[in-house]
Symmetry: C2
Subunit: 254 residues, 2 copies
């Protein structure tokens, strides 16, 4: 199994604190030694960092942890590989372009018969079930929506397609189209929204505390999604099995 | 004008030395303060670093300069913007997927009437002439070749399409499909192939010397392509105006 980390915020926000916890699970407090990756959206643009080395040892992970890249959406993943060898093309998150937007996808789990899902416009570069599923999903979206549909129509479409994949195995995923952050939970996912009045949070995986009051303004709204809670003194909301969630500017889209 | 840097090698090779020279031109010895980016291919996989800040000040550029990422193809760009504001979505190199391969594109120059070039499958995310041209070019390739054609057919096709764009303005470009590195020269481009017996090279833009004999093995073949020669004690080959060049495993494809 792998671990996912996502963020949606209404102001450009760094994810150094949460990422510090996650990267410990990449070969430190957790077994996810098979690479890691992260995508930071800044407006329509996106920058990514990928490394097939364990995040706990990674030079690049150290940069990401220490250098605050401010972003409104983040999608990150640390991998404990199952399908597909450990190499750069199999390192999440995966990206493609649709509607002139950059789409990012990361998956935790293992899906059977993924090769049956027919591909059209997008083809995988690596050999993971995850990238194949992403290419199928984006092909489905492209075929059904030549341009971006209303948000509600789109969320329902995503929920429907995710259930199709969820029936084939373990499928926890995070995806963004640069405007919203989507999640689907097949076995394990949780989230927390932080807003004023901000308090102190303490990481589970490293002895590290942050007082969000000191690093935010009163209007900031920041939601973090993770496979397992990253802090041990806050209440995280569990996503129901089979549920799709969507966030924009830090707030859940109903 | 912007500066391009490309590498093709027959063994995974780092580009720290050449990149050290290039990044000085990003706001140090050169005026290219409008961001920079680099793509490193490792087999079919590719990792990229993008930063809209000047490379000479960039934390991420420091990492790329100091942390040897070994790669067989590199495409890099530092920008002095003309069309399109300075922001992440306008930062080269641009990437898309075709045939299950990651394609990377970087451009130096300015092209008129780029909006006339019709788009099909690929759409730009930012507002540069460069990304529009890349989307057009990749759409043309996709339409003409459902799968990868023989190398010679493909090189001729690229040369033909590049000439079409070259007629509209300044178009120096580097592109890779993860197997080969292509270049087109409309005004300025040069290259050098380093192989045994290796010698000492000295950077033009920084007081830095490397003895390639000490960091290579006798079978290594490494070609570097740049807008202007990066060293002042070696002979670089100028690309003819209107010429397309292609390299694979460090060697020029005839």
């Amino acid at each position: 199994m792998c671990e996912l980390l996502g963020m949606s915020a209404n102001v450009p926000t760094d994810i150094c604190f949460s990422f510090s916890g996650l990267m410990q699970r990449g070969g430190g407090t957790g077994p996810h030694r098979d690479g890691w990756g992260i995508a930071f959206y800044e407006g329509r643009g996106c920058r990514t960092f990928h490394d097939p080395s364990p995040s706990v040892d990674s030079e690049i992970a150290r940069l990401v942890r220490n250098y605050p890249i401010k972003s409104h959406i983040v999608v990150s993943h640390i991998r404990e590989g199952n399908i597909g060898e450990v190499c750069l093309p199999n390192t999440h998150p995966f990206q493609r372009e649709l509607w002139g937007q950059i789409w990012t996808f990361a998956h935790n789990g293992q899906v059977d018969r993924f090769n049956d899902l027919p591909l059209s416009c997008y083809r995988p570069v690596g050999t993971t079930d995850s990238e194949h599923i992403f290419c199928w999903l984006l092909g489905e979206i492209r075929e059904n929506f030549p341009t971006a549909p209303p948000e509600k129509t789109f969320s329902e479409f995503i929920a429907d397609r995710c259930r199709v994949i969820g029936e084939r195995g373990v499928f926890n995923m995070l995806m963004s189209d640069s405007r919203a952050l989507y999640g689907y939970c097949s076995t394990k996912m949780c989230w927390i929204t932080r807003r004023a009045p901000f308090g102190v949070a303490h990481l589970k995986d490293a002895d590290m505390t942050v007082d969000f009051y000191e690093v935010t303004t009163p209007n900031d709204i920041v939601t973090v999604i993770a496979t397992d809670p990253l802090t041990d003194n806050e209440t995280w909301t569990k996503v129901h099995l089979g549920e799709t969630i969507a966030f924009q500017d830090g707030l859940q889209i109903p």
